[in-house]
Amino acid sequence: MSQAVVAKLREAFSADVLDVKEYRGEVTVTVKKEEIVAICQFLKDEAGYNFLCDLCGVDYLGQQPRFMVVYNLYNITTKERLRVKVPVEEENPRVDTVSTVWSTANWPERECWDLMGISFNNHPDLRRILMAEGWVGHPLRKDYPLQGPDREPYQGRLS
């Protein structure tokens, strides 16, 4: 079970595991961002999480730290999932890239930079991916207006 993995992880990186949560049968581990590459390498090599499903950023505007980078991992052998999160503060929105661990991370990290404005150290090719080159701002941030910049707010109902 994922719990065993979490226990192993706690043993190896006792100082870096900030929080472990289970919700609807899914385990989420929050770790410090400094050690994310080492932790991911550990999870891949020791715990068999050889498949990175998804990587994304979340903006908790108004909370400290403001951002979270979320890694959804999958173990193809045991068919188990695990979620790893790292908090990223607004002043220094940088995380080390995990594209050295899984090549998959390349584009999702670019997307995270493009839409959320979290940049990745040592990333091989950190360019905007969905928005146009030279776009100003990061649209998925909560303080980015839904209508886009420099436009009258939409007067109708949205929800």
Partner: protein, 392 residues
């Protein structure tokens, strides 16, 4: 020797075989590809941002527009995620689950038909294209009968289905799956044994199992590299554990094996649909969770309570407790995942979609570098990408 000069060509975003608005910048030495850089984002509509500003029910139609060739698979992933977030997964009525499986598999056939059609057309076999679209048309008609729309069906609902099956629908499905294996044999008759088809696909766009996992390939593309993994069997959802089907795996790692895989998958889908038809029992189509599900139309027009009920759900929506879930489904193109965070309000706080095409497309440069220009076309086809879900 003189310095070798390379030529850079822009393939797309307007090009007959980039399957939409994909732009590939190719560096060519003669006809050999030295370097391939995909550029995406021409179809970016900000689906994730839009979803954050709508209630859960109203974000559902956005998912139709992701992989517009397989709208019901997208709907299925979304409603399963929201149901998991609400914790009502085990309250979904049996009939709704069976219909969901049936429609998801029909959608798989529909999506694979478009893939086969365009893939064959790209390689130059244009007759298969029209044969496939003839069969796809039947599925489109069923879609229309069921939901009123041919492409953007928006048929599933959080908690069940929007409408019950129309009269005669099951007969349509049965006659379709009776004919489908024969049609598949026709396609194979035109392609599988064809020497030119084999020359164009065997050994083309290779990727090893290790590389495929490393780069995140999923779905038929991954199973073509010999990795035996299918979410329908390994992390079953919507009752897939009760169906008897095989996961098709081949280890040729090339375009031909991926082609055979998808064809066999369509045959398996027919088997699943047949079992679903047999399982179909009369019963409710919506879960009995009044906070979430809309009341039947009959109640809304006949009683003030029903009207108020409907009004409340439409205007306010429902509010799942704070939490976060991830749900992956085996969409026709690979693992389609939704990662959803609720902050206790009526809108999703964050909805991240994991589109299979987006991750699969990353493998393209690896597959084509050092190969010929014509193989780029075959590789784009074999990855089965849809720009709607890549760009979101």
């Amino acid at each position: 020797m003189a310095k070798k000069e390379t030529m850079t060509i822009n393939m797309g975003p307007q090009h007959p075989s980039t399957h939409g608005v994909l732009q590939l910048v190719l560096e060519l030495d003669g006809e050999t590809v030295v370097n391939a850089v995909p550029h995406i984002g021409f179809l970016h509509r900000g689906v994730e941002k839009l979803a954050e500003n709508r209630s859960y029910h109203r974000a559902l139609p956005l998912t139709d527009r992701l992989d517009y060739l397989a709208p019901m698979s997208n709907n299925l992933g979304y409603v399963l995620t929201v149901e998991k977030l609400l914790g009502i997964t085990d309250q979904i009525p049996e009939r709704a689950k069976v219909v969901r499986v049936m429609m998801a598999e029909l959608t798989r056939i529909k999506s694979h038909l478009v893939w086969l059609a365009t893939h064959a057309l790209d390689i130059g076999a244009m007759t298969v294209f029209l044969y496939c679209f003839r069969e796809r048309e039947q599925i489109m008609d069923m879609y229309e009968k069921l939901s009123g729309a041919r492409m953007t069906s928006n048929y599933f609902r959080v908690g069940g289905l929007s409408l019950d099956l129309p009269e005669g629908f099951v007969d349509d499905v049965t006659s379709f799956i009776d004919d489908m294996p024969g049609h598949l044999d026709t396609y194979e008759g035109l392609l599988t044994g064809n020497k030119i088809w084999q020359k164009r696909t065997v050994g083309v766009a290779p990727i090893s199992a290790e590389d495929a996992i490393d780069i995140g390939l999923t779905g038929p593309a991954l199973r073509g590299s010999g990795v035996d993994w299918d979410l329908r069997r390994d992390n079953p959802y919507s009752g897939y554990e009760d169906y008897d089907f095989e996961v098709i795996t081949r280890d040729g790692c090339d375009t031909f094996d991926r082609y055979k895989n998808r064809l066999d998958e369509m045959r398996e889908s027919c088997k699943i649909i047949r079992q679903a038809v047999d399982k179909l029992q009369p019963g409710p189509i919506l879960a009995d969770v009044p906070d979430v599900c809309l009341p039947p139309k009959k109640d809304v027009v006949n009683s003030i309570e029903g009207l108020i009920h409907q009004f409340k759900i439409i205007t306010e929506g429902f509010k799942p407790e704070p939490g976060e879930v991830y749900q992956g489904v085996e969409a026709p193109k690979g693992e389609l995942g939704y990662y959803m965070i609720s902050d206790g309000s009526a809108n999703p706080f964050r909805m991240k979609i994991r589109p299979p095409s987006f991750v699969n497309l990353q493998a393209l440069p690896k597959m084509v570098e050092g190969k010929l220009l014509a193989d780029v076309i075959a590789a784009i086809g074999t990855l089965d990408i849809v720009l709607g879900e890549i760009d979101r």
